[in-house]
């Protein structure tokens, strides 16, 4: 038995006792501590406040600069459901064909229900590492979770989505790596959308202590090509002094899904935070990435690769917030656009008054592979300190005809030359994942996308 989200989110929701009871029933069933219950109630009110959620889903405010250029269709919640049944089929193994991933621990969810789990080694557990499903972490380590859960997440326009996410999320990973613990292997979490109309609210919390090393992979996929999913996910990375966190995420939902993701990174003193996100799936996908350089000398690297085809729309908003001196950030977002697809990149670098000797860079590269595709760029700077070096660049163009000509003059057929150049465009991002298994997977997914 399942309840449709549209019912729980209709404008009358907050005032209708019957519908509010659904939300309350889920809360009661979870047996969560009071502080969390309160957070969820607040989120619920935020999601319902202001009338921006209607029976057509979340309406987009055309006047909101944070939604400039976005398609104004609204995000329909009509068929979104909360699945209550564990997925019975077999879930794909994305690393089956290639290199196996060196895994430190693994969680697999289907429709927000935990289906498989590989716990961390006894050795890691002894060192104090915690890697648990979110619901279990809440029960076992309430104080640690309380310190961070929902505290840092910051939406860049998608406040309603984030509020909705916070009201419902119980699936996902909670990772805590204590001071000075280095884990070279990857913590891997897979979220599958399996049943038609599934609403997913995946959440990730990564807390890295001083000088800790963490590698993390989130994968979002669909079990089939036809079941449309409605996803509102969020991930938070919190780093202590000198911590090194490298998180990768791959969004490969099917082409009928709607996906919203809100990633937040808080970079401590001398921390080294890297984030690579790959965006392939969804009918429409909005990705918001907020990073705060909170500690002096922090280093942040943000990288994204998007391959858009058909009539897909990828809407990406980023914010590099420099609040501490001597921090460095570097952003590279690459989009390849096929068919009648559309990408929006809106990036902001903000340097606060005290953040001297900031070195910030932001780069957006769009490769138009079809005249009907559209790329929008809104690279922004807000600088309030003079002792900085901040630059951004945005380019949009097709493949360089001279490069194509050169390859053809060397005897390569047109198609091969074309593919070489396009895959070369991706390679700059793929090589940065520094993990052969994942790089191979990304190359395979990119090829599949072109094959479609």
């Amino acid at each position: 038995m399942s309840v449709t989200l549209a019912e729980t989110l209709a404008p009358v929701a907050a005032t209708s006792p019957a519908l509010e009871a659904v939300f309350e029933a889920e809360l009661a069933q979870s047996r969560e501590p009071e502080w969390l219950v309160n957070l969820r109630r607040e989120a619920w009110v935020r999601a319902n406040h202001g009338g921006k959620i209607s029976e057509n889903g979340i309406a987009v405010d055309k006047k909101d600069e944070r939604w400039r250029f976005s398609g104004h269709k609204g995000w329909s919640l009509e068929d979104a459901t909360r699945s209550k049944n564990k997925f019975a089929g077999k879930l794909p193994d994305i690393f089956a064909d290639g290199h196996p991933l060196a895994c430190a621990g693994q969680l697999t969810y289907a429709d927000d229900i935990l289906t498989a789990q590989t716990p961390i080694s006894a050795d890691l557990a002894r060192q104090g590492v915690i890697f648990l499903p979110l619901a279990e972490a809440i029960a076992k380590h309430p104080e640690l979770v309380r310190e961070h859960l929902f505290k840092h997440d910051r939406a860049l326009g998608g406040v309603k989505f984030l509020a909705l996410h916070q009201a419902y999320t119980r699936a996902g990973a909670f990772l805590y790596v204590p001071d000075n613990v280095e884990v070279p292997a990857t913590f891997f979490v897979a979220h599958w959308a399996a049943s038609p109309g599934a609403a997913l609210f995946p959440h990730t919390v990564i807390i890295a202590g001083a000088n800790a090393t963490v590698n993390f992979l989130d994968y979002f996929g669909s079990t089939d090509e036809t079941s449309e999913a409605w996803v509102a996910g969020a991930a938070t990375v919190i780093t202590g002094p000198g911590a090194r966190v490298f998180r990768k995420s791959v969004q490969n939902l099917n082409g009928r899904s709607l996906a919203y993701h809100c990633d937040t990174a808080i970079c401590g003193r001398d921390a080294d935070v890297r984030n690579i996100s790959v965006h392939l799936g969804g009918e429409r996908a909005r990705y918001e990435s907020y990073s705060k350089l909170n500690g002096p000398g922090a280093n942040l690297e943000l990288c994204a690769l998007t391959i858009a085809s058909g009539r897909q729309e990828f809407d990406q908003r980023t914010f590099q917030d420099h609040a501490a001196p001597r921090a460095k950030s570097n952003l590279l977002y690459k989009n390849a656009l096929l068919d009648e697809s559309r990408t929006i990149f809106a990036g902001m670098i903000r340097v606060e008054p005290g953040a001297e000797e900031t070195d910030a860079y932001q780069q957006n590269r769009n490769l138009l592979l079809n005249p009907a595709a559209e790329a929008d760029s809104l690279p922004g700077l807000e600088i309030q300190n003079q002792n900085v070096r901040c630059t951004h660049g945005a380019t949009t163009s097709r493949l360089d005809p001279e490069e194509l000509f050169y390859l053809r003059s060397r005897g390569l057929p047109k198609n091969t030359a074309y593919q070489l150049l396009v895959f070369g465009f991706f390679e700059e991002v793929i090589q940065r994942v520094e993990d052969e298994a994942l790089a191979e997977l990304l190359r395979k997914l990119a090829r599949e996308k072109f094959g479609k």
Binding site: L368, A372, E374, S377, G393, S397
Partner: protein, 468 residues
């Protein structure tokens, strides 16, 4: 009015004011009667009056654009502004006929002298109307028209009316609507086919009265193969209260024509300068905006070019200097609407003290266009610790073989450069000034000589005391 009768001594050239009597005054505030008054004294045709009334309704219906622009706009009180002030509607053809008090002002600003030296024509606007307008005789023989909007719409309706309000429609934004309702003064220029006006035409805009709003309207049409350069300068004395300047400038370059429009804006620090400027470039024509903003409290100005004809070219070169209490919100718009069109934007801004400079850009290449190119560079220089700069470009690209590149950087004056110059015996302030001038030098070179000298001097003045 005591203090106004005295000469206010200044470091800026424009900060002085002589007592002036106005024969025509539309009073304070904006009502339909204000518009009737303006139309009445100007003796305008009914269609112009109707155009104004419609515009007033549009103005009233539009909200302030504060959802993206600065909240400082809310400081403008439209009910306290005087919308029309003049001593008469007919500009004099010789400086001898200009009323003595007004003449004194322009002499002090050096306008008659510049006219003798290097200008082909001059129009000097004092509050709402031009006090002086003259063009070299040779040019009128060639058919060049250089008049104000009242005369332009009355005497040359067949030339100007078809283009009037076509590049910037009334409803383009709140301030273009305001201008359309109460416009007065400005230049209407027509350059016939193949005529190349070698020396620049110049307009000088002067705000003299307190609480006054200046709403000049300029329309320049360069017929096929024609070429013209137009320059405008602006100053106002410093008042206690805010003054509003809201112009609309439309350029039309027909096939193969070239228009160059140069602005050196040096309003005093209490002027809200909210200007809409746009050009329409037909086949193989070229429109170039050279825009320099030094003065004003808040400037919002994004000169644009609609590249309507094949191989048309648009360019915006922009320099902004924001000092304490100033916000230079400037930028450029390039709307590509034909194949093989190219555009170039180079914007440099300097923020001094608590000054804030903002770049806003718009580049659009819609689908079905081929081989269009845009290049955008914006560089910002921050001088002091509390200076601020923002960059907000918006780029949309579709179509085949189009390419767009945008680059922006923010930096401070290099400590090494300063150290080097000081080791060569320059004072820190001199080194700083040299470095800042070096930053904008490649753009300043694009200005006509007389202006680039002036500009360097102005920037040195503005920088004075801000470093060291």
């Amino acid at each position: 009015m005591d203090q106004a009768t005295q000469l206010e001594i200044d470091r800026e050239k424009g900060n002085f004011r002589y007592e002036t009597d106005y024969a025509f005054d539309a009073g304070v505030g904006l009502r339909p009667e204000t518009i009737d008054y303006i139309a009445e004294v100007k003796g305008e045709a009914p269609w112009v009056r109707e155009f104004r009334h419609k515009a007033l309704k549009v103005f009233e219906s539009k909200p302030m654009p504060t959802h993206w622009a600065t909240k400082d706009l809310e400081a403008i009180d439209f009910s306290k502004i005087r919308y029309y002030l003049s001593q008469g509607q007919k500009p004099s053809r010789t400086w001898d006929d200009v009323p003595a008090d007004i003449k004194k002002t322009f002499e002090r600003l050096g306008i008659p002298e510049q006219e003798r030296k290097f200008l082909a024509g001059v129009e000097a606007q004092f509050d709402s109307e031009a006090a002086y307008s003259r063009m070299k005789e040779g040019l009128s023989k060639l058919g060049v028209i250089f008049v104000g909007p009242t005369e332009g719409l009355k005497e040359h309706e067949e030339i100007f009316r078809p283009w009037f309000g076509k590049v910037i429609p009334t409803g383009d934004n709140k301030f273009s609507a305001l201008n359309s309702a109460v416009f007065s003064g400005g230049s209407f220029i027509y350059v016939p086919k193949g005529v190349k006006v070698k020396q620049p035409l110049q307009a000088y805009f002067r705000i003299n009265a307190e609480n006054f709003g200046q709403f000049e309207r300029t329309l320049i049409i360069a017929d096929e193969g024609a070429e013209v350069t137009y320059m405008e300068g602006c100053t106002a004395p410093k008042f206690e209260t805010a003054t509003l300047h809201s112009a609309v400038v439309e350029l039309i370059a027909l096939k193969g024509a070239k228009i160059q429009y140069i602005t050196v804006q040096n309003w005093s620090n209490n002027v809200f300068n909210l200007v809409t400027k746009r050009g329409l470039a037909h086949e193989e024509s070229e429109i170039r905006w050279i825009d320099c903003n030094i003065g004003s409290r808040l400037t919002m100005k994004y000169p644009g070019v609609i590249l309507k004809g094949r191989r048309a070219r648009g360019e915006v070169l922009s320099i902004a200097l924001a000092n304490d209490g100033q916000h230079q919100d400037t930028g450029a718009k390039m709307i590509h609407a034909a194949d093989e069109t190219t555009s170039n934007i180079v914007a440099k801004s300097i923020s001094v003290g608590k000054g804030r400079s903002t770049y806003r850009g718009l580049v659009q290449i819609p689908k079905h266009l081929k081989n269009c190119k845009n290049n955008t560079e914006c560089d910002a220089l921050l001088i002091n610790a509390n200076s601020r700069t923002d960059t907000y470009p918006a780029i949309t690209v579709r179509g085949e073989g189009n390419s767009v590149q945008h680059e922006a950087s923010v930096s401070k004056v290099s400590a090494e450069q300063i150290f080097y110059m000081r080791s060569r015996g320059l004072s820190e302030a001199a080194a700083m000034s040299l470095s800042v001038n070096g930053f904008i030098n490649d753009l300043v070179r694009e200005f006509p000589m007389e202006y680039s000298v002036e500009l360097k001097r102005l920037i040195e003045l503005e920088m004075e005391g801000s470093v060291g």
